[in-house]
């Protein structure tokens, strides 16, 4: 099967979309950009391919049960099983890398006891791993670094006490290793992991024993479909750092315009607020960019601003929106300078303003700035599509809706749950067109 990959190398995350010949999204993948775009691109596209496999499985199973969704639970279990296999594989890599660190001179005297302690930590990590991927288990993040890191710390603390080895030394071995492991995408054969996961699921779920043969045939059939990477297009800030030749690179403005058009073909105006820029884009009926404006000389009011505010308030980024939503009386804030944000915040707090009101005011300030960029690009024409990480923030969306209504009246506002993939989707379509043309 011919497939087309679009990769959007953002300042915060790297996204990949795998498209088939009929413009259907086969898979999506995302990873943190980790200031190493080459790895990020590799990981994200691998994730998209994995996701693509699951799409093929879903298609095969729908054929098998005639669309009755009888195997939905099997598919979900298969995915959890696969993630577990992947996690275990990376865990082994991490263990080997940590042990390797012990060769360093500073560990010379305590090498053996540390080796033992590390062995015990990884034993426990492996033992509890299935729970992390059990049905209904909640993971704070899907990135290996986050999951493994938090559990490693817990076990290291306990084992350091039990074994009487230096806690800091264990953490040091981990810190020195995690970057290498993270920058090394799982190397094992994907199909093997799918098969191991399938065996695990079929073994665990007695109810499926009657279907085991047909499920295996269906999954094996899907694994037999080759996902040929026919063409790849990269976009986003990191695009120039990749070893792509020029014809494999598109500007993110064009990709966002086309991606938004593919999600909502009636789109005429696109607003994208990403980590470090805000784009107002006008597209025509075919998704071709007619005009655009971006923030210039200053990245005030972009996604990073919210990140900074979250740090200042000692909150998680995703907690800002919900708190701001509780406000009935947003503060009036004009400055969206990220550097001044901390001072503005503390000043307001000292004046006795409520956190939620200040946050609501900050969200409004960001949107006021975005409105100015939109007007410079030519205003809002129905339909309007909002994309980028900030589109996931309800408080930001609430302010935007209100401002659009005040300034442009009733306009259809589209926000796709997968809006973070808009640029990658556009890039994948450019890849498809490059081959088709």
């Amino acid at each position: 099967m011919r497939t087309f990959i679009g990769i959007d190398l953002g300042s915060t995350t790297t996204k990949a979309v795998l498209l088939d010949e009929n413009q259907h999204v086969l898979g999506r993948g995302i990873t943190n950009s980790r200031s190493n775009y080459a790895t990020a691109a590799r990981v994200a596209s691998e994730e998209a391919r994995v996701d693509g496999r699951f799409t093929l499985f879903r298609r095969a199973l729908t054929d098998l049960d005639g669309g009755a969704h009888r195997f939905d639970e099997f598919l979900a279990a298969l995915e959890r099983g696969f993630r577990l296999e992947q996690f275990l594989e990376q865990l082994t890599d991490l263990e080997v890398t940590c042990i390797d660190q012990l060769k360093a001179e500073r560990f010379a005297k305590v090498g053996d006891s540390l080796r033992e302690a590390l062995g015990e930590i990884f034993l426990r990590l492996r033992k509890e791993a299935p729970e992390l991927y059990a049905p209904g288990a909640k993971r704070k993040s899907d990135f290996f670094r986050d999951i493994a890191g938090s559990r490693f710390h817990v076990h290291a603390e306990a084992i350091a006490k039990e074994a009487g080895v230096g806690h800091d030394m264990l953490l040091n071995a981990y810190d020195k290793s995690i970057i290498d492991v993270e920058n090394r995408p799982p190397s094992g054969d994907l199909d093997d992991k799918f098969r191991r996961a399938m065996a695990r699921v079929l073994g665990d779920t007695k109810a499926l024993s009657g279907d085991a043969a047909s499920l295996t045939t269906a999954i094996e059939g899907s694994l037999g479909i080759e996902l040929a990477e026919t063409y790849l297009v990269g976009t986003g800030y990191g695009r120039v750092t990749l070893p792509f030749s020029k014809e494999h690179i598109r500007s993110e403005i064009l990709c966002h315009g086309l991606g938004a058009h593919m999600m909502y073909p009636k789109t005429r105006t696109v607003l994208d607020i990403g980590g470090q820029d805000t784009k107002g884009i006008q597209v025509d009926a075919s998704g071709i960019v007619e005009n655009f404006q971006m923030n210039d000389r200053c990245a005030a009011g972009c996604g990073r601003y919210l990140g900074y505010i979250a740090d200042e308030m000692n909150m998680g980024l995703h907690e800002l929106g919900p708190l701001a939503m509780q406000s009935n009386k947003p503060a009036r804030i004009n400055s969206t300078c990220t550097v001044f944000a901390g001072a503005e915040l503390r000043d307001r707090l000292s004046l006795g303003e409520k956190r939620e009101d200040i946050l609501a005011g900050l969200h409004r300030a960001i949107m006021l700035r975005a409105m100015s960029i939109i007007s410079r690009s030519g205003g809002v024409t129905d339909e309007f599509t909002f994309t980028g990480g900030v589109a996931k923030n309800d408080a930001a969306v609430r302010e935007l809706r209100q401002l659009i209504k005040e300034n442009y009246g009733d306009v259809v506002i589209n926000i796709n749950p997968d809006s973070i993939y808009t640029g990658a989707l556009g890039a994948a379509e450019f890849a498809r067109r490059a081959v088709d043309a």
Partner: protein
Amino acid sequence: MSTTIIRPNSAPAEIIRDASMSKQKDMLARHYDRLSDAPQSGEKVCATFVPGNLNELIMCFDMVNNLPEVNAIQSGLRKQSGPYVLESEKIGHSEDVCTYVKSDIGMMAKGNIGPNGRRMPDPDVLLLSYTGCFTFMKWFELLREQYKCETVMLHTPYLGDGKITPEMIQYMVKQLKQDVIPTLERVSGVKFDIDRLRENLRRSAKAEDDHLWVLQSAKNKPSPIDAYFGGIYYVGPIFGAFRGTDDAIEYYKFLREEVEERIRLGKGPVTPDGDMPREKYRLVVEGPPNYTHFRQFWKMFYDEGAVVVASSYTKVGGTYDYGFRHDADNPLESLAEYCLNVYTNRNLPMRVDMLANYINEYEADGLLINSIKSCNSFSAGQLLMMREVEKRTGKPAAFIETDLVDPRYFSAANVKNRLESYFQMIEQKRSSSAAA
């Protein structure tokens, strides 16, 4: 014919210069030496601005013309303007002030060393002959305070209604007769001779013909010149201290011959990296360039095969493509008309007409606006102009932002990102219209 390689900041030994380029270099060197020598030679110095530069008249009084914006540009190209701007801010000029002004004031504060490494002379008179940019007025106010010298102003009415009226000309001629000429006579001690002015104007017109021919050669495909980055060199003599001289006539003659040769050979423009191999995009550019990163900025264009075929900036020191030439038969009237015709003296509809016409006449792919952070004279109304030009021509436009000579306002990654997006947008439009 040799290959011209223009290098604004450095001139490695391997560069082979065209005759026109050597000529200009020589002219500028002599001019700056003449300025540096003025305190010893006793020549009087007249400071004035490029738009409305009355060089033919100034020469009638044996005065040397000193152009502060050109000095600021030179400082920008030589990477001196950054420290000068900071020096100026230290003195008390705010961040928002025109950076030409701040570079000039900073240069004075740091010893007034010119591009030739020698001290620039104090002016004997400040001739403000173009008033469309109000900053010019404040700039000379500051210089008058500094030098305590005579100041004379020729008020140029703005073409708010889009046309030059006989009353405007009369009004300006009256100022020339009653105010400007008597002041210049007094300062220089030289009596005004109108026949001398006629001679100068005759020489101007001759150079102007060739100058315009060169700019219009960009109608060829491929264009043999870049009418913005290259254009800045081509307007040098005619906008500066050489209009009305034999040097200018010779310079434009050489340049024209060189361009004729390029057309004959089917060559594109010369760039700092040699001949531009393939013309992919033809652009019209509105607004001044950035001088602190001039080469880097230019490279963003020629690396992508983008050539500027017409620009409004190369009309700030005079607009010749609507038929105006200095006229020896109507000397003072012609000086007035020259000042009135300056690009920034044109109202917004006239500017829109000009840009839209350029896109059509030069068969350009679109309009690019380089908006200057510290220049209100250019920036006001640019977004409206952009929309109007887009509407009239159906060609895509884009907007980037930099500054004249303040290096702090040139964000290379952002500018490049925007330019690349724009070029790809043109490409996409082309393929979609080809498909349709």
